[in-house]
């Protein structure tokens, strides 16, 4: 048992910090619902940050650390699936990677666009294909989640079968979800604590009122839990650990979502404040893999049969 970052991990996270510095803030006057950057994406790919899981000396925990770190940025990056699921299939699959469950085409898909690799998991199988214009329906301005999203209208007749168990991919997907959620939760919490520490009412910062302090402290507890469960699940590759990490992540997302916006008062309803960039991504993650109940059932299956 050793839970400190090793030297490689510290270096990689520091490097990401400096690389991501230009993307650490929201561009002035930008009120996009979802914020993305091709430049940031390109820099991450170029520096190999999304490929660390495949390197034996780094591995899945480092990949999870990278995903967590990137999720804190206001810019949405497709890192989780690429860094944690792609190595199990084919490390050269074109990005972004879009994960969908068999029979769930009614749901919007994160990062879906022409050229993306869609990975379909279900019925004990894993298959993939490259998305093309004709099977993508844009969701336009309707999307209330802070990711670029679109609908898949069908699955091509020709898909590539991957020689990997569906359960293995589901496990990695859960780790990816938890690691990304951990970063989103941490960034959202930071954003709210900053605001309530400065905003004064009744002559003192909002953060001095215990009604907020205790709920924020509880949010810190669950955020910390999601972080550690995600890292452990990445490290052990255990299906129960992965299910518990994803479950705790989705529970935490549900717990904080409304509180955080409420604590910001009317400012929490604006696009001027960037909080939604994290919380509305958490909302999207809430429905992945069938939601909390399904993760809990997966945990129970793995733990007790």
């Amino acid at each position: 048992m050793h839970l400190s970052l090793n030297e490689d991990q510290t270096q990689i996270l520091d490097f990401i910090d400096s690389l991501a510095k230009p993307f650490a803030g929201v561009p002035l006057h930008d009120t996009s619902f979802a914020l993305t950057s091709d430049e940031l994406d390109g820099a991450l790919v170029e520096n190999g940050f999304l490929d660390v899981a495949a390197m034996p000396e780094l591995g899945a925990v480092t990949a999870a650390l990278v995903v967590e770190k990137l999720a804190r940025l206001p810019f949405a990056v497709e890192a989780a699936a690429s860094a944690l699921v792609r190595p199990l299939l084919d490390p050269d699959l074109p990005r972004p990677l879009c994960l969908v469950q068999e029979g769930q085409l009614r749901k919007p898909v994160r990062f879906l666009k022409p050229g993306a690799t869609v990975v379909v998991v279900g019925n004990g199988k894993v298959r993939s294909f490259t998305a093309t214009d004709d099977i993508i329906r844009g969701a336009g301005e309707e999307v209330l989640y802070a990711y670029p999203m679109a609908y898949l209208t069908g699955i091509p007749a020709e898909t590539r079968a991957h020689d990997v168990a569906a359960d293995t991919v589901l496990r990695a997907w859960r780790v990816a979800l938890a690691a990304e959620a951990a970063g989103l939760l941490a960034a959202a919490l930071q954003s709210v604590t900053n605001y309530v520490s400065e905003r004064k009412q009744f002559g003192r910062p909002l953060a001095t009122f215990q009604a907020l302090r205790h709920r924020l402290a509880e949010a810190q507890v669950v955020t910390n839990g999601v972080y550690w469960l995600a890292m452990r699940a990445a490290g052990t590759a255990d299906p129960a650990d992965a299910a518990m990490a994803a479950l705790h992540a989705q529970e935490a997302a549900k717990r904080v979502g409304y509180d955080y916006h409420q604590f910001l008062g009317a400012m929490g309803m604006t696009l001027e404040h960037p909080l939604h960039l994290w919380t509305y991504r958490l909302k999207a993650l809430t429905s992945e893999l069938g939601g909390r109940g399904e993760q809990a059932l997966a945990a129970a299956d793995a733990l007790w049969g």
Binding site: V196, E218, V221, G225, W228, T236, A300, L303, W304
Partner: protein, 381 residues
């Protein structure tokens, strides 16, 4: 980061498990319903801790200079987990080895070390902790039990409450007020519990018979040589002690063990096929494991020689969440467990209620997290 135990750590845990399986009496599970601070378990612990000591299992994490094996914080945590999982057969002596011993080594006089360390090492000695008072619970620094210097003795007058082990303890680690300075006016005295003027009264409780007490001090005479540290040094000393104790009891581990037991009972009854039950069980497991990993992150800080800091309050609160969830799970789905159906789950339930209260109320942990982890501006006082 590496989330696997080393071979040595796994072997250490297995050795402890085997020792307990072999050395605890056959009716141990029913017996363990007596809380760790009950007279029955306290008496049992005196003999049992001596056997642990003889086998190098009472304080393996102590430095070799004072008779330990020099094992690290991970082993201390493993030891605590295994003992607590078995219903804490050490009774109150877990305190001795967790923090009283190390605190004696750091702050005790030579005479105090010579007197108490062998007693602790023998596995025969029991301490109680005279901290809380009727008007000083979460606000501990407001305590009023007065120690007045009179020549070469202190005269102690006042009252303590919620004192575990007081009924059978040999010595009280007593916080007293020697001046009006809120924190710097508090002084520690080591007081033999058979000193004239001490009256102990049991408080009937939900957590087991004989676990908590009131202790009255009526002109109790304590020689100056029994002062621990300097006058006014108590706050510094107990803060040091708490760094050894903050992680405290690994309640997340017993909660998880209790959950596994509850699931086993549900399976036997054919009820673990229901999704409503399985979902809730999964949720409880996640809370237990979240608490476990949060606690392990603090153990790592100790391994790295860092202060455990305010994050330990976060780990503590996570543990409270896990304890509550598992207790609620049992009440909801295995109600028979708390009516004679399972000694183990009854033991867990009685102890579970303590999680959010003992060693600093859960709300105090939240205050600490808000101020020192989240760095929020403090509340006006």
């Amino acid at each position: 980061m590496d989330f696997e135990w080393t071979e040595e750590q796994a072997a250490f845990r297995a050795r402890l498990q085997a020792f307990l399986a072999q050395n605890l009496p056959d009716d141990w599970e029913a017996f363990s319903k007596h809380g760790p601070a009950s007279p029955a378990l306290t008496e049992f612990a005196r003999g049992f801790c001596r056997r642990l000591a003889e086998n190098g299992m009472l304080f393996p994490h102590w430095p070799k200079e004072i008779g330990g094996e020099g094992l690290g914080p991970w082993e201390q945590q493993i030891l605590a987990e295994v003992m607590w999982e078995w219903g804490e057969p050490r009774g109150g002596q877990y305190m001795n080895v967790n923090w009283i011993g190390p605190t004696l080594v750091k702050y005790g006089t030579d005479a105090q070390k010579a007197k108490y360390l062998p007693q602790i090492s023998s596995g025969e000695m029991l301490w109680c902790q005279g901290f809380s008072e009727p008007d000083s619970g979460s606000d501990l620094a407001s305590l009023r039990t007065r120690a007045t210097l009179d020549g070469d003795v202190y005269r102690v007058n006042g009252q303590k409450i919620w004192t575990s082990y007081a009924g059978l303890a040999d010595t009280c680690f007593l916080l007293t007020r020697t001046s009006d300075d809120r924190k710097k006016g508090i002084t520690i005295l080591l007081v033999p519990m058979d000193t004239p003027g001490i009256t102990v009264r049991q408080i009937p409780s939900l957590i087991g018979e004989g676990d908590i007490h009131e202790v009255f001090f009526d002109d109790v005479v304590v020689p100056v040589g029994q002062r621990f540290g300097e006058e006014g040094q108590a706050w510094e000393i107990i803060n040091y002690s708490l760094t050894n104790e903050r992680l405290g009891i690994p309640r997340y581990h017993l909660a998880r063990a209790a959950l596994d037991r509850a699931v086993a009972m549900l399976k036997d009854a054919g009820d673990f096929t229901r999704e409503a039950v399985r979902i809730e069980a999964g949720r409880c497991a996640a809370l237990c494991e979240a608490a476990r990993t949060a606690n392990y992150a603090i153990v790592q800080k100790r391994v790295d020689g860092l202060g455990v800091g305010a994050e330990s309050s976060s780990a503590r609160f996570a543990t409270v969440m896990a304890e509550r969830a598992v207790c609620e799970f049992v009440v909801e789905f295995v109600p028979e467990a708390l009516a004679g159906g399972s000694a183990y789950l009854q033991m867990h339930h009685q102890r579970g209620i303590v999680a959010g209260v003992a060693a600093g109320a859960a709300e105090i942990q939240l205050n600490i997290i808000a101020s020192d982890v989240l760095q929020l501006p403090r509340e006006p006082r």
